[in-house]
């Protein structure tokens, strides 16, 4: 008996694959931004599925802020190598050499120089005209209004008041030289959809998502896992072992862990469904200023 209904996950998968193929067909030089997080893992898998038995006709690019967890970088290199991806890694080496970091310069300056500026530089250096990002609309309020194909002017800026109308699945991909489009194939996925898909598809993710005994320091109400010797001296005797995991992954001094027993995907989902805090509360940068994510997005941050 043939049946003609799709589950929501199959429908979301079909929509994302259509979007990814549309970019491959309509742009000269696309790139997939790869943050190493769970959403990026799903996006990379969707790209692999979109072209099999062929290969995705674009590389992955990771913006390395130089403060990422070591386990993330190991996972990134393993994933790209074993899954046949061309991987580009870009960093703001000038700022790095000048010693920019979250402890000395604060999260705002660090994020601007090591993430936003490094990203803009990387996009420009290779002349990418379209960049996939793994952002979801359910993550944060300013993302809830962004188009799937989101126009960026020649300064890579987003203007929330002047977005192109986006209807059906007909995407306007026309740009002038120097302009670009950010494309969000996971726009309509929720956090639960991502976990559900990782579970069903058996997609590898960074082990930091799973609970384990790890060293942590409490800083301003966040549990920070010191990942290298750059932890300021004053915190060094405050380190203790706790069973923790991460809900999102980023720069280690800016990403809070949660105490957790969840060491399988099922337990993670259970924890997520019964917890009362949303995903972004463990990201320090959102607390900088009111409507801070919208501000960063206007300036070119993803």
């Amino acid at each position: 008996m043939e049946q003609y209904n799709l589950s929501h996950l199959k429908e979301l998968e079909a929509e994302s694959i259509y979007i990814i193929r549309e970019v491959a067909a309509e742009f000269e030089n696309p790139v997939m931004l790869y943050s190493i997080g769970k959403d990026s893992s799903v996006m990379a898998r969707l790209a692999e599925k979109a072209f099999a038995p062929g290969r995705p006709p674009f590389p992955l690019m990771h913006i390395d802020s130089k403060w990422k967890f070591k386990e993330m970088l190991q996972f990134r290199d393993w994933y790209a190598r074993e899954h046949g991806w061309k991987l580009i890694v870009e960093s703001n080496m000038e700022a790095f050499k000048a010693g920019v970091g979250p402890f000395t310069h604060g999260s705002k300056v660090h994020t601007d120089l090591m993430k936003t500026q490094a990203l803009l530089h990387g996009l420009k250096k290779y002349g990418f005209d379209a960049a996939f990002g793994g952002a979801r609309r359910d993550e944060e309020k300013s993302r809830a209004k962004e188009r799937i194909f989101s126009f960026r002017d020649q300064f890579q800026q987003w203007d929330p008041k002047n977005q192109r109308p986006e209807l059906w699945d007909i995407y306007n991909t026309r740009i002038h030289k120097g302009e670009s489009i950010r494309v969000f194939p996971l726009s309509n996925w929720t956090e639960l959809d991502i976990w559900q898909y990782i579970r069903l598809e058996n997609i590898p993710i960074v082990p930091l998502y799973f609970a384990k005994e790890r060293p942590v320091v409490e800083m301003d109400g966040q549990l920070i896992m010191p990942d290298d010797e750059r932890l300021p001296e004053k915190y060094k005797d405050m380190i203790e072992m706790r069973k923790i995991r991460f809900r999102t992954l980023g720069c280690w001094p800016l990403t809070g862990a949660i105490e957790s027993e969840a060491d399988t995907i099922e337990k993670i989902v259970e924890e997520m469904m019964t917890t009362t805090k949303s995903e972004r509360t463990t990201r320090v940068i959102d607390f900088d200023q009111d409507a801070s994510m919208e501000q960063k997005k206007r300036e070119g941050y993803f």
Partner: protein, 501 residues
């Protein structure tokens, strides 16, 4: 199925059930005064989608800028952007996500103000269902008629009329009945398939998630119950097979596949297909679904587990809206923008058609411009040949018009510079819709819904496809291939040139 929070089901059971849920996309239309945001907030709140920190922020903001006095102002939750909070209205489409034990939902929340017709059209284009809110004290107003007309224009099959603020009318059956009967009279000529009316109080929750004891005279279900059970599979066109080719995949010499989405109809392995515009026949050799060839896992010690590559997967049939790759038995040259169909069921093939057009650009229509038209995966140049009339979205009256301005809607005739493959929007949303792109600014200037093909002789300013008669021009045959390549490139950019050899 019990809720996870009550710990009545195991997590595995919950996930196995969750996986099977389907997806309903819905549009909400109405103004802030109708309590639209309150209704959405309640759907999210009562389905436990709000997290504690969102609630904390909401309570804080409600006290600072809210309009709900001491109560939580749900509207603030939905008004995301900074500028809008200051203006006190939502200005664009915002998407919200929630799920119940039966179904997943995506809400496109759009504003009700007249100048934002554009946004409602944007939010509604992918919706299965529209909720139109009215304030029970005001009944059917101009805005209700405008929203309903736009919903019918977009071909949304299911409409919910939510008569809100029944608490302020004493839950009076007569008030509800009068509004419903007035609405039904208005809506009849618009041809909406399925209309259901609900008496609600979004503020107090009556008939939103649970049936209210304050409306004993109302016999229908609660709104959420209705949204959870309305059947969706009939919303796709399963009759007319259309496969616009999106991308040609040729990873190695032995494989050439046509990537695309099944826009409508069903395709099975072995089916005979015809390629448009060449009209060449072939059969479907294989249908390749999305699959991951590489299933490698990271071992605990950093090693790689499971290194075997999966062979190519195939399925026996595909249906909308699946994205697949079709492999054909014969070597036919097909590129992006062309379409695979069945020989006994062809779309319109032609350059001229009549359509309803919605102007979306701040810049008024310039009739001298050669717009880009994007329809399915095809791009061409085009011009607006005639404007039959402009329609007033408030009164539905038609008037003569020279050019459209922002938010204006009307019936037009368009001529593309190359052949397109299309159906009427009523029968097939996927192949009956298009956008116009300004050739200078690249903005999406207008969106359209095709009514029918138009005969060339009815055009006012028909433009012939330029012809290159190669022998007549004295061009030697060894140059033909180079010229054909150049013409193919022009075609890719939407400019058609005919070659005579």
């Amino acid at each position: 199925m019990k809720d996870l929070k009550d710990n009545k089901v195991s997590i595995t059971e919950f996930l196995d059930n969750d996986e099977k849920k389907d997806l309903l996309r819905l549009l909400t239309a109405g103004s802030v005064d109708d309590g639209k945001s309150t209704l959405i907030g309640r759907l999210l709140f009562d389905s436990k989608k709000l997290y504690e920190d969102q609630l904390t922020a909401l309570e804080r903001d409600s006290k600072r800028v809210g309009n709900a006095g001491e109560n939580i102002d749900y509207a603030l939750l939905l008004d995301g952007l900074k500028a809008e909070r200051e203006e006190g209205i939502t200005i664009d489409v915002a998407y919200r996500y929630f799920s119940t034990n039966k179904r997943k939902f995506i809400i496109a929340d759009t504003p009700g103000h007249e100048q934002y017709t554009r946004n409602m059209i944007t939010g509604g284009s992918t919706a299965n269902l529209a909720i139109i809110l009215v304030d029970a004290r005001n009944g059917i107003i101009t805005q209700t008629r405008r929203h309903t007309f736009l919903v019918s224009l977009l071909g949304i099959k299911h409409v919910v009329l939510a008569v809100n603020k029944m608490d302020l009318c004493g839950f009076d059956k007569a008030v509800f009945d009068k509004i419903v009967s007035e609405y039904m009279d208005f809506v009849r000529p618009l041809g909406i398939e399925d209309i259901t009316c609900f008496p609600l109080s979004a503020l107090d929750g009556d008939n939103v998630v649970d049936k209210s004891e304050r409306t004993p005279w109302y016999e229908g279900p609660a709104l959420l119950d209705f949204l959870e059970t309305i059947p969706l599979h009939a919303d796709h066109n399963m009759e007319d097979f259309r496969f616009p080719v999106q991308f040609v995949s040729r990873p190695h010499l032995n494989f050439r596949g046509f990537c695309g989405k099944v826009a409508s109809g069903i395709i099975r392995k072995g089916d005979e297909v015809v390629a448009l515009p060449s009209m060449k026949h072939s059969r479907v050799k294989a249908i390749v679904p999305p699959y991951a060839p590489n299933q490698k896992q990271l071992g605990a010690d950093g090693s790689t587990l499971n290194t075997a590559e999966l062979p190519m997967q195939t399925v026996d049939y595909a249906f909308p809206p699946e994205s697949v790759i079709l492999q054909l038995e014969d070597e036919i040259d097909i590129s992006r923008g062309e379409m695979l169909v069945k020989a006994d069921n062809l779309p319109f093939v032609g350059r001229n058609f009549e359509a309803m057009l919605v102007w979306m650009d701040e810049e008024p229509m310039d009739r001298s411009k050669a717009f880009y038209i994007k329809q399915t995966t095809n791009t061409s140049r085009c011009h607006v040949d005639q404007i039959h009339y402009r329609i007033d979205v408030n009164t539905l009256e038609q008037s003569e018009c020279e050019a459209f301005r922002l938010n204006e809607i009307g019936r037009v005739v368009i001529q593309a510079s190359k052949e397109l493959f299309f159906d009427s929007y009523k029968l097939n949303k996927q192949t009956g819709s298009f956008i116009l792109i300004d050739p200078i600014t690249n903005n999406t200037s207008a969106v359209g819904m095709i009514i029918s093909a138009v005969d060339e002789k009815e055009l006012h300013n028909a433009e012939a496809i330029p012809t290159l008669d190669l022998p007549k021009l004295g061009i030697a045959p060894e140059h033909y291939e180079a010229i054909e390549r150049a013409v193919d490139e022009l075609d890719r950019q939407g400019i058609a040139v005919r070659i005579v050899k």
